[in-house]
């Protein structure tokens, strides 16, 4: 899905908040200042103060010279972070993935959210207007990457929505600072006369790396979108993880059983509430001697059935060696899937179909003991070559893409690989009269005409095979073939199967 991000920039976050608390501040210029190296330095200004040319980083004495009677408020440490976090939480109504962008910004992953507000423009307008009517001075932009959204929000025109795949053009005219570069790089770029992104972005990467370092290139890549930028969201989706510490070290199988049951109950309760089920789960037991033992289960179908999952673990309890005792059990579900809601069926058939839950649970039990790779199901495959006419199904519910071939008979038993036989034939193009297989001589009484099967040319250059169905004097039916043409030097006879 096309990723879309919104960057919000609260230009006067702290002063806006103070104004909200004390409405009388609305009409007067004021600043927030904190002592730094024996000077009082301004850390935030409101819009009125800014219009008089007061910026952050100024000494408050200088500012008072510009505006006599300027109100100076003591800095509130950590208030900005708190405020930003609370605004981020409030924004969760617009998107579940919100990340903080300190000191004064928020980044929102809005992929797939905007249509709920009727489109991207309406979404952004709605979001920004809510903040503005409240009294926060905010700038926002939407783009394909975090970097581009940030750049446009801070340096582009207000409330811009950069259409999908247009963000590179939008970046070109912006100053280098829009790429979130460090101060040293910015200074160096300014000295070199690069005033817009366009002027240096097409320079060879090796040259840029030599002069500015890897971080510089990373910032460009993040803005362009060639490198993914992970967000540290404020409410990450919680991992499916359960812990159970024990007061006394547990050393018995019953104790382990109880622990697994408790863990599964807690986990399954959460999974049921969310309509999900687990496909793989890992149990880890931390022993008091420092060792970690565990068990791993997998299911064919997402399941949140405590009894069934416990049965799977029960098969593995024997392999858990408690030694001196286990003090902590953890259970992680790494693979989670939606559980299809089972509809109550009034006339359920008694038979166990491939889709039925009973079969999936049976195969889970078998697979966890003998290995899931040993459980196979075959589907027809579009190939005449006998070894390739079947393919393994990837899941229980996979439907055959083609039908089983019905034309020529196929043997009930196919040898894992063709075995060479000695033959005698009257005419070279005919089925053999006698053949010797494993020291036993078979007189061929009846035979069908040859069925020529060629290997697909893109698979290998093996010679074609001429298959014959033959029946010997005792009524035993075999599938023989000659590899290659009868005039060929290396033409050999093989037995490949036995018919019913």
């Amino acid at each position: 899905m096309q990723k879309r991000f919104v960057s919000l920039w609260f230009r006067h976050l702290l002063t806006d908040w103070l104004t909200l608390r004390q409405p009388e501040l609305q009409q007067v210029p004021f600043v927030v200042a904190a002592p730094e190296r024996n000077r009082i330095i301004i850390t935030a200004t409101n819009l009125l103060a800014q219009q008089h040319g007061i910026t952050t980083g100024m000494a408050s004495a200088d500012a008072k010279a510009v505006i006599p009677g300027l109100k100076v408020i003591d800095h509130l440490p950590e208030k900005v972070d708190q405020l930003l976090y609370r605004l981020g939480e409030w924004c969760i109504r617009y998107s579940p993935l919100i990340a903080l962008d300190p000191p004064y910004g928020l980044i929102m992953d809005v992929s797939g959210c905007t249509h709920l507000w009727g489109g991207e423009q309406q979404y952004l307008d709605h979001l920004l207007n809510r903040f503005r009517t409240k009294g926060y001075d905010v700038q926002g932009a939407m783009a394909d990457t975090v970097g581009a959204a940030w750049a446009v929000a801070h340096f582009g025109k207000a409330d811009a929505i950069i259409a999908p795949n247009q963000h590179i053009e939008a970046l070109l005219t912006l100053p280098p600072a829009a790429l979130r570069l460090d101060q040293v790089s910015l200074e160096r770029l300014r000295k070199l006369g690069f005033y817009t992104v366009k002027s240096f972005v097409s320079i060879k990467r090796t040259a840029l790396r030599r002069r500015f370092g890897n971080d510089f290139l990373l910032r460009i890549d993040q803005a362009v979108g060639t490198v993914d930028e992970p967000l540290q969201v404020i409410h990450p989706i919680e991992a499916y993880h359960e812990r159970l510490p024990s007061l006394e070290p547990i050393r018995t199988a019953e104790g382990i059983e109880i622990a697994i049951k408790t863990l599964l109950q807690n986990l399954c309760e959460r999974l049921r509430d969310e309509g999900k089920g687990l496909r793989t789960a890992v149990l880890k037991c931390y022993r008091i001697d420092g060792g970690i033992v565990g068990a791993h289960i997998g299911t064919n179908r997402a399941s949140n059935n405590t009894t069934h999952l416990f049965k799977l673990f029960a098969l593995k309890i024997d392999s858990i060696e408690p030694a001196l005792g286990i003090e902590l059990f953890t259970l992680d579900a790494y693979k989670i899937e939606e559980v299809p809601q089972d509809q109550e069926v009034l006339w359920a058939s008694d038979s166990c179909e491939l889709e039925s839950n009973d079969l999936a649970e049976l195969l889970d039990r078998l697979g966890n003991k003998i290995g899931t790779e040993n459980i196979k199901r075959y589907l027809p495959y579009e190939s005449y070559w006998p070894e390739r006419a079947i393919k393994k199904a990837t899941s229980l519910t996979e439907k055959p893409a083609t039908t089983w071939r019905t034309g020529r008979p196929r043997p009930s038993i196919l040898l894992p690989c063709p075995e060479p036989i000695q033959v005698m034939f009257k005419l070279p193009d005919d089925p053999p009269v006698t053949f010797i297989y494993k020291g036993e001589r078979h007189e061929v009484k009846k035979a069908d005409d040859a069925e020529r099967i060629e290997c697909e040319w893109w698979q290998s250059k093996r010679p074609h095979r001429d298959y014959y169905v033959v029946e010997d004097n005792e009524g035993r039916r075999y599938w023989l073939f000659r590899s290659g043409h009868y005039t060929d030097e290396g033409a050999k006879w093989y037995i490949h199967g036995v018919f019913a």
Partner: protein, 244 residues
């Protein structure tokens, strides 16, 4: 024998069967498997489902013939839906061949067990799963106690199990319902035509619990079994079947 005594004996036989767990079949279920006169060998004259059958497969051709007969039986068992589980250590059954016996091989689940001793565990677990059409296991050795365990498993779930005994030296008494042996017979085509004809087997029931063992000749016509004994005695039987 006077008819009164015969009736009494018949009634007693029925009672004994009922006490042993063989309920008299309903009309709908009767003759469902399509084995023809062979079914008369079983108690009440019905192929018993929900029990364990034992089939002797000593060599490759034997195994192939058994697989053929078994595919036909499973086709009838799977007609009502369900899946079949096939367990073995060195499985050679070719899924493409099953279609000729009217089974969709996609509804077969093959379980390739690494160790011989896991087969019985897997089979017992599978037999406990209600609704499966059939469970087939290729196995060398089954002790009497182990076969009893399997029998107990099917009694509640009503799944039909087949044991393919691959080692003649390890043959022992079991609680299985019947012991089968299938050997291939020369095929015949009508009117001395050249080529190989329909698969034909000699089916021997060496042992049947509460039934009458015997020997029959069967052929597979492509969609059903054809009894060759009956064909010899009753010429009308084959007219209802399609050969093809």
């Amino acid at each position: 024998m006077p008819t009164v005594q015969k009736d009494i004996i018949n009634k007693l036989q029925k009672d004994i069967l009922a006490w042993q767990g063989f309920s008299a079949p309903t009309i709908a279920k009767a003759n469902s498997i399509g084995l023809g006169p062979l079914e008369a060998a079983f108690p009440n004259g019905v192929f018993p489902t929900g029990t364990i059958h034992e089939m002797l497969c000593y060599n490759l051709t034997n195994t192939a013939a058994t697989c053929g007969l078994l595919s036909g039986l499973v086709a009838a068992l799977m007609a009502q839906g369900g899946t079949c589980i096939w367990i073995g250590t060195s499985r050679k059954l070719y899924p493409s061949a099953l279609n000729a016996f009217g089974v969709d091989a996609a509804r077969f689940i093959f379980i390739d067990v690494q160790r011989e001793r896991d087969i019985l565990w897997v089979m017992e677990e599978a037999l406990k799963c209600e609704g499966l059409a059939a469970v087939v296991a290729e196995i060398r050795e089954v002790s009497f106690a182990q076969s009893r365990r399997l029998q107990l498993a099917v009694e509640s779930s009503k799944v039909t199990g087949f044991l393919l005994r691959t080692d003649p030296k390890k043959l022992s008494a079991t609680t299985c319902m019947a012991r089968w042996q299938v050997t291939p017979l020369p095929s015949e085509l009508e009117g001395q035509m050249p080529g190989v004809g329909l698969p034909r087997w000699q089916v021997d029931l060496l042992r049947v619990r509460n039934g009458t063992p015997g020997s029959w000749q069967l052929a597979w016509t492509g969609d059903s079994f054809l009894s060759l004994d009956e064909q010899l005695h009753q010429h009308t039987f084959s007219t209802t079947r399609q050969v093809g």
